[in-house]
Amino acid sequence: MSDLAEPAVQDPAAPRLRVLRAGPCATIQDGGRFGYLRYGVTPAGPMDWAAFRTANLALDQDDNAAAIEISYGGFELLCEGAPTWIAFAGGGFSWRRDHAALPPATRVLLRPGDRLSAQAGSFGAWTYLAVEGGIETPPAMGSRATHVRSAMGGLDGRMLRAGDLLPARPTAKRDPAFFEAAIEAPWLEKNGRPLRVVLGPQDDYFTADGLAAFFCSEYRLTPSADRMAYRLDGPEIPHARGHDIVSDGIALGAIQIAGDRKPLILMADRQPTGGYPKLGHVIGADIGRLAQMRPGEACRFTAVSVAEARAALLDVEEDVAETPSRLHILRPALTSETLLGINLIDGFVDALKDPGPYLSGCDQ
């Protein structure tokens, strides 16, 4: 591959982002590495695609441009060299530029000497920091997405750490068309609705009681949750025909039930093929909400048709595409009152008290 090992060109007058602190699992991600699934290559890409695209679209750029994915372990960086526009969006994180608090989805101009920090806030496990022009680390097999297990993409195929320097482009944006803004993104708000699931391809490997347990019970995310898979705990889902199948393909959101009879949901760093029965798939419209759960949080599932799943996905994509028209001028001194006034994030909604409209098949 000719595009693999070329070093990124570094212009001394260009802005650079110096990582001061990186919690675990901070990586560079773009839309994902596609075209090589059949060769066993993991697609990677963002855990919460809607948040990732929102951050890029707020900069009026390719919604798959490489950005920094930040976990609830937090992150801090220093802008050096020259000014650059950045935007962030994701869970309800606490963001600060120097000492000033910023809303959880915001576009600002970073000037040399500015420090930007993120730490876990009211909810959510992931947030995305997009940089004007995208982060230009060398692509591997057509993508900048980091896959740590195969040491591919991003910065040397690894997680980011303190001391890393990320190249950015000199700004091409000019005031007043480009202004510092809070992003009004209601599609990123937490809600307690059940996660929607399309059944199959191996739903016939489970007993009726097993399926009923899955759709009528609460499941809690365990600490065994990373970019590859989220393991949940809750009532057992018995198999009707054993838990070994001859390998077939794996798509995003696949709900595997292995020998422990508990759901394991395959996320961005999934393998493209695998050998456990899959009860169903969490739909694309809801995968980001699942990704944003923290260990210990509970959720419910509800079955929908493929047509409903497609319609839901198209709805979210339409919402996300509206990002550029949902930018509101950022007030310079932001207090918690103005934050509440903007009502960007409604905060927690109790999953038990608000089962939502989808739980029609279960006796409550």
Binding site: M1, L4, A5, F34, G35, Y36, L37, R38, Y39, G40, V41, T42, A140, M141, R149, S150, M152, V198, G200, P201, I245, V246, S247, D248, G249, I250, A251, L252, G253, A254, Q271, P272, T273, G274, K278, H281, V282, I283, G284, V306, A307, A309, R310, L313, L314, E317
Partner: protein, 242 residues
């Protein structure tokens, strides 16, 4: 043999599994590969990529451009056109069965009650087919292992087998592309890099290709390893039927 009639099973709203069976059989895999080739020719609207496995073809698609129902109809039409498949490539792959590259041959021999030399002969005797990739980039799953080499997986995985390891377990064979912990047994090692991101041909074999192993001694293994390191394929190919 008539290809089995497929089942169309949604995998969420953005993927469709076309399942030809639930077992490992050449006829099922032939049907998977025939559909894969036909779809590559047909270039259906919205199809992003396809992933062949032992018994199914997964079609990943863009739901903005095509619905699952429309895709199923389109795939049915493509299937009826009965496309011609190009003959698979057969690869002759050098393999070393001498220490330190054959670490588990003694253990396999003890478990199966066969002499060590017979283990190696059997592994060398087969024509393998690349059934699918999985696990990690380039991790090559092969069918065609002689039945006499059927051995259960270890109960617990062991320290990573190095890249190029030739592994067997559960009646299957594979070529490891990267070091990964595994419950499989190592019979030998190839200097060939089945996955090399710096090489023009990143992955050696396509799914459906055939593979035979050719025994080399340790000094040849070392020489070929150096050649592979500098980007040479090291494996030799010819079309099946030549």
């Amino acid at each position: 043999m008539t290809p089995p009639a497929p089942r169309y099973l949604p995998a969420g709203e953005s993927a469709l599994v076309v399942e030809f069976g639930q077992t490992i059989e050449p006829a099922i895999h032939d049907a998977v590969m025939a559909l894969d080739a036909a779809l590559a020719q047909a270039k259906l609207e919205g199809v992003r990529e396809t992933v062949p496995t032992y018994r199914s073809l997964v079609i990943h698609f863009d739901p903005r451009r095509i619905t699952t129902a429309a895709l199923i109809e389109a795939v049915r039409r493509v299937e009826m056109e009965a496309p011609t498949r190009k003959p698979p490539t057969r690869w002759r792959i050098p393999a070393c069965y001498d220490a330190p590259h054959a670490e588990d041959v003694g253990e396999i021999a003890a478990i199966l009650g066969l002499p060590e030399t017979r283990i190696v002969e059997l592994h060398l005797s087969a024509v393998y087919r690349v059934y699918m990739y999985g696990f990690a980039p380039g991790y090559t799953f092969l069918g065609g292992l002689p039945e006499a080499l059927t051995i259960p997986r270890r109960a617990t995985p062991r320290a990573p087998a190095p890249p190029g390891s030739l592994l067997i377990a559960g009646g299957q064979a594979l070529i490891a592309s990267v070091a990964m912990p595994t419950g499989w047994y190592g019979v030998g090692r190839t200097p060939v890099r089945v996955f090399d991101p710096h090489r023009e041909r990143v992955f050696l074999a396509d799914i459906g290709d055939e593979i035979t192993f050719e025994r080399v001694d340790r000094s040849t293994f070392d020489a070929l390893s150096r050649a592979a390191e500098s980007g040479e394929l090291v494996a030799r190919r010819h079309a099946v039927g030549e």
